[in-house]
């Protein structure tokens, strides 16, 4: 791709990640949540995959490790949702309402949900782009 697109991708990448993290961490107070946050974080990596060449990106996306991260986050989300009724009431007691440190179990669920969605979209698109590079 062009030098302009490469430079702008380098500049924009951390800000897209930052916005995704904000959407995940602030999801219980403002519109947003796990799914949009994960999609936003994945968009940053898809932008990297589309702009840079195969040789520049190769080896930086270890898919097996991404699947490991996704599995661990899925197990954590499963634990949170299964023990939700025990967790929620205890968490709310120690939290301050209407601040970032609130929301009971929706705060960790948002974080792990965003990790699951982001890694999932990255794995799918990286696998498909890799096939395209082989041709």
């Amino acid at each position: 791709m062009d030098l302009i697109i490469k430079t702008i991708t380098r500049v924009m990448f951390p800000f897209i990640i930052l916005f995704g993290a904000y959407t995940a961490l602030h999801g219980h107070l403002t519109p947003g949540g796990g799914f949009p946050a994960g999609a936003t974080i994945a968009t940053a990596f898809v932008l990297l995959l589309l702009t840079f060449r195969e040789s520049e990106v190769e080896g930086r996306f270890p898919e097996i490790k991404l699947i490991d991260i996704k599995s661990i986050a899925s197990l954590a989300l499963l634990a949170i949702i299964l023990f939700e009724f025990a967790l929620r009431d205890k968490l709310i007691q120690y939290q301050i309402p209407m601040t970032v440190w609130s929301g009971g179990d929706t705060l960790p669920a948002n974080i792990f949900g965003s990790i699951i969605v982001a890694t999932g979209i990255i794995i799918i698109i990286y696998s498909l782009i890799k096939e395209e590079w082989k041709k």
Partner: protein, 100 residues
């Protein structure tokens, strides 16, 4: 060989349609009111949508994540051929056997 999945799909669809046809079609406004009024108290989340998705209806969301997980694993297994993995494991195993 291809008839088995086709028949399986037809039987599954028929069973699902039969199950759905017995569901009661009721419009229950009490649930809506309950969710909107108790979202902040019960879950501590100011965003009512987030409270419903991750708290009141958390099991539905868990199912959604499971579907996403299955889709990702399916794409990964279809795109990556078996031969690549076999070669990598062979390369790892060969030096070990030589040492022995």
């Amino acid at each position: 060989m291809k008839l088995v999945p086709v028949f399986g799909l037809i039987i599954f669809t028929a069973l699902m349609l039969y199950a759905v046809s017995d569901l009661p079609i009721t419009h229950n406004p009490d649930v809506k009111q309950y969710y909107l009024q108790n979202a902040l108290e019960k879950t501590g989340s100011a965003n009512a949508v987030n409270a419903i998705v991750w708290d009141f209806r958390a099991y539905d969301t868990l199912g959604e994540e499971t579907v996403l997980f299955a889709a990702v694993i399916a794409v990964f297994l279809i795109v990556h051929k078996k031969s690549e993995f076999k070669l990598k494991t062979l390369k790892k195993q060969i030096p070990k056997t030589k040492q022995n």
